[in-house]
Amino acid sequence: MATQKVSVTLEAEAIERARHVAGPRGLSSYLDAALQEKLERDERRHALLSLLDDLETTDPTPAEVRDRASKRAARLRAAVET
């Protein structure tokens, strides 16, 4: 796979922690793996939102159902994002 050298600005403490856990794999490999994982997660998220948008276009969700869902999602976020 082709590689490219880039200059980025990252938190110093995070870089030190990454160096520590990366070990012999090296910082570049570690950051590359982290970037790949993040990309995969974001691509899955966008693909799902595209499906949900398509479904909503052909079969819209009533406002009261959407309100109930919004409250449930808020409850979940409050329980998890502490």
Partner: protein, 134 residues
């Protein structure tokens, strides 16, 4: 820490397409940054190979599946053993344990399942992971 995850167990996958209310919950969470995950082994229970799989296939086609590598599978085994010891009942299924391990790896999120009892046993020690019906 990664962002919170939405882990779909077998009975929840098709409901992303067939249930408007569930669809809206998932939409809301994904738009706020939560990441959807379908662990690949779940397909063993979600897929029948018949035309009725169409809604599940639609969701799987967009979300994809997450591989279960050796460290994750080992963690699933440890969670399964712990659940058996603490609850003193029959062990949860291996697939439920894999689903739990995917959620545990993220550290925060929700598992949507039509059969929450065993997954609650598996994730009992992780308060930032909710187990709910779709």
């Amino acid at each position: 820490m990664t962002e919170p995850v939405i882990v779909f167990d077998s009975g929840a996958i098709d409901q992303v397409v067939t249930s408007k209310e569930f669809r809206a919950v998932v939409d809301n969470l994904v738009r706020s940054g939560w990441a959807p995950i379908i662990p690949a082994p779940v397909l063993a229970e979600a897929i029948t190979g018949r035309a009725t799989d169409a809604p599940a296939n639609q969701a799987i086609g967009r979300i994809g599946t997450a591989a279960t590598d050796e460290p994750l599978a080992r963690h699933a085994g440890a969670l399964r053993y712990a659940a058996t010891r603490t609850a003193g009942r029959r062990p949860p299924s291996g697939i439920d344990a894999v689903v739990a391990a995917h959620a545990a790896a993220a550290g925060a999120g929700v598992v949507f399942t039509t059969d929450p009892a065993d997954l609650r046993r598996l994730l009992n020690a992780l308060p930032r992971i909710r187990v709910e019906r779709p």
